[in-house]
Symmetry: C2
Subunit: 292 residues, 2 copies
């Protein structure tokens, strides 16, 4: 297991972590400048932030800072109720691949979608098996396109509390079953993003990380589970402040040969998003060394 205690060369900042600073939305290019200033070598930006900054401008900024992208957030949301919805999801995901390629991302991360409409408050149907079938079909289609762009695709199993509205792929085992069916040769074109927040509770986590192996471990995300957790989405903790044994899980992932970035992704409405960005970033660096 790599020693992170004296350097943050393997730290990546998911830009959602710094999206809000002192309660205000901060433009992506400013976030990149902040990261560069503190010696961060990698980021993982969100599509809406890139769209606001402009893809070309983002690409130039990334290159001029000499930064890597540990991933691109995010493709997915494959579920639909009608043919136009199906087509829209398909084209949107292809654009996400193109953007990820332009930014030279290590992978496109997929949040696969839940019951269509649920995120807006009203599910159009409640058959989660149907949603899962649509997701697998969507990934299969996208995979062909992504292979053409040489862009690896990482399924991110989301915590089961997001099954209804954000992602109906909820365990590593389920994600890897999909990988086995769609990429039986383990080519590296399809894999998983392991986010400790989503999977730490899983009694089968260790065995499923081993099952994934190096070729399917495409990304590693960290934050912490707070007790109490006051919000289902935006109360994620800084590594070390909650109950997840992050070094244990990182050890399992690295034992498989994973040698990429450890990406800090924190949504924190009432804590970190209210603080100055420099403080949040300095804390990410410190905790990367001491708690990851």
């Amino acid at each position: 297991m790599r020693n992170f205690s004296d350097s943050h060369e393997w730290l990546s900042i998911n830009t959602a972590t710094l999206r809000r600073q002192e309660g205000r939305e901060v433009p992506l290019l400013d976030i990149l400048d902040q990261c560069a200033k503190q010696g961060v070598r990698a980021i993982s930006p969100w599509r809406d932030q890139v769209a606001a900054a402009g893809l070309a401008a983002t690409s130039r900024a990334v290159r001029s800072h000499g930064m890597a992208l540990s991933g691109y957030c995010r493709g997915g949301m494959f579920t639909y109720t009608d043919a136009p919805g199906h087509l829209a999801a398909r084209s949107d995901n292809r654009r996400a691949v193109d953007e990820a390629a332009e930014l030279n991302a290590a992978c496109l991360v997929l949040v696969v979608g839940g019951l269509p409409g649920a995120l807006a408050g009203k599910a159009a149907y409640t058959d989660i098996t149907r949603a899962r079938a649509q997701v697998e079909e969507g990934i299969a289609e996208l995979l062909e396109y992504a292979k053409g762009a040489h862009m690896p695709v990482a399924i991110e199993p989301l915590h089961p509390m997001y099954a209804a509205d954000r992602a109906c792929v909820n365990t590593m085992e389920q994600a890897l079953d999909i990988c086995d069916r769609l990429d039986p040769g383990k080519t590296g074109a399809l894999g998983v993003a392991v986010d400790v927040y989503h999977v730490w509770w899983d009694p089968k986590l260790r065995e499923q990380i081993a099952r994934a192996g190096k070729s399917r471990l495409l990304a590693f995300h960290v934050c912490d589970w707070m007790t109490p957790t006051t919000d289902l989405l935006n109360d994620r903790g800084m590594p070390g402040d909650g109950v997840i044994d992050i070094p244990l899980i990182r050890g399992w992932v690295e034992a498989q040969g994973f040698a990429g970035y450890s990406e800090v992704e924190i949504f924190s409405q009432d804590n970190w998003w209210k603080r100055p960005g420099a403080e949040t970033l300095a804390t990410c660096i410190e905790r990367h060394r001491s708690a990851v």
Copy 2:
């Protein structure tokens, strides 16, 4: 699958559902009277409610109403940090068995506990594997005692969002693995409580219900998953108001031979607990017929 549409003879009311009415705490014996008045044949009371009403008085009331207990809520909370904590958990669980027996409950439901201290805000340790070992040891000990009292014990896998603070048994598969180890003969002394709220998202739910079989399906609980869910604990929905396909899951359970009560258990700080009890109860009955 039984037809519930024209009767509520197989409805049980978990008394937490009526614990608060119009924002006020209501005594257990009043709740029993309300249930009896609307023809409810079974309940599942909580220990704190029974303690407040008195065990003997509760027992008399249950008998005089001719009511069954679909279960008794709850034993568990097996995790500990020191020997006194270990002993306290053991004696408390034995008392829970005695109370369940006095009330002639169908089973004692176990919420097994999470990381010790986490429910109060600060986990004493973060090794969930250790917590799981303590839980299994606790169940093993309790099982011997419960057998002596002829009281079946039902492990309730809780939603993974409760893994830190309430229960580190989070899937049917995990609960049934414990059952296999502690009661390989499937004697009926140990099984599971299937609460759709906790397990609806699980891609392996159908196969694990089949694996459980009749001898291990000891209780069936219903409520609904709302979108959005605004609170991790107390925003559970009335059957039919959320996204869970309850009849589908009941069909799977009954296909194994389960023929017990369907127990409505709703914690709802901002909705049902604010309404008059008669309205909540009438809605439970109506939804038992139309949405369960």
